[in-house]
Symmetry: C2
Subunit: 237 residues, 2 copies
């Protein structure tokens, strides 16, 4: 079974929703058969590359005072802490996340996507230092088990994995996603938003029970060379 | 798109079929979107753990002379070499492959399954030294980028990843597979045996074109906390 999770590193509900999903997955009896894949979704593809403090941005965006923005962020922090997640008081920063998504696709190819995703969320939501500059991203990649030079090369080449990010976004859009986190189970069930863990449990159970029993459509003839319990083609006299 | 490939390391047509599939994948325009997963299939779950030379086994199994078994294996070797694969003259050995499959599941968890699978095939079909003893398996795991101690611990614990191997086999059986290699695309299309590369190309194209456009079934309400282009829940005043 495959669960694809569209999210953005700038998205606090993705950080929180991921923890809730993982709580459900941890007690799901068939968890060994569940593969989780990160999919890219940029909340603001036009965001500048240079990181800026989030609270003044929120205040400006929603026409709030800085105090109101702080209070709103504190309510999100409460939700995060209720799931056992660290959350930085006083606001994080935000920037264009395209490079992070490219790096996550590189990490996927190397089998280190889950590790890098955790590191990016942690760095963005729980650490003072910005997660967005190249030096920090390379450091986080190395911490996730990736080769630092290879990660730096990916960051230096704006085309690297750009196509993969855009394909993820096109797929999300084709499936009707307008916000994140957006969870898709075996391309059949969808869960929108940071739902409670029980909802994810229900979705996992439902996807498991409804695994396609439909017969496969065969491509190619049934007589190609193969091995079976009775032996291998050509080896049989 | 996901391609699951059921195979056994003891199966020469799996070794050859994998190469043919990879030829098709290498020129498939959407290959970046294709995820390939190895699935376990034991041709002979009751095979002894100690490795034995294959040619006398074949001769005994099919009531052939040793020369006839050699000639049959040479015909398979021709097929392998036609795909650019090395193949050991004079016969390899064979043994129970359960431990190899367990190790492949461990490698999957660490993002090194493709590397280990290649190493196992190569060791079994192209190298004099047996691929089946524990010391050699650990060496191959290390060569595939895995931690040697962790690989040895997996091999030493017969329960480790045993469930994952059995689940793969149950799934293959539920889908009607009786031999390998057995390729399944997005759990919708099946390809049996070491088909020519063109058949795999056709299957990839067919699976790509028929990707499910069906709307997702939503689990949970549409009002859970999320972030979208207009901002994040709780942050909006």
């Amino acid at each position: 079974m495959r669960v694809e999770v569209w999210s953005d590193i700038n998205c606090p509900w993705c950080y929180i929703g991921k923890a809730r999903f993982e709580q459900a997955l941890a007690v799901f009896p068939h968890r060994a058969e569940v593969e989780v894949v990160h999919r890219s979704f940029e909340l603001d593809p036009n965001a500048p590359r240079a990181a800026r403090p989030v609270l003044p941005l929120l205040a400006a965006k929603y026409g709030m005072s800085l105090e109101q923005a702080e209070a709103a962020d504190a309510r999100i922090a409460e939700n995060a802490r209720a799931e056992g997640l660290p959350y930085l008081d006083g606001g994080r920063d935000a920037a264009n996340s395209f490079d992070m998504h490219r790096l996550l696709h590189f990490a996927k190819e190397r089998g280190r996507q889950a590790e890098l995703l955790d590191a990016l969320y942690r760095a963005n939501f729980a650490e003072e230092r910005s997660a967005f500059d190249e030096e920090r991203l390379v450091e986080l990649a190395v911490g996730a088990g990736l080769d630092g030079e290879a990660a730096a090369a990916v960051l230096a080449d704006p085309q690297a994995y750009a196509e993969a990010v855009r394909e993820d976004e096109a797929t999300a859009s084709a499936m009707g996603a307008t916000g994140v986190p957006f969870f898709v189970l075996d391309r059949r069930l969808g869960v929108s938003g940071a739902q409670p863990a029980e909802t994810f449990t229900r979705a996992l159970e439902q996807a498991w029970e409804s695994r396609p029993p439909a017969p496969l459509v065969q491509v190619g003839g049934g007589d190609a060379d193969a091995c079976g319990p009775d032996g291998c083609e050509l080896l049989r006299p």
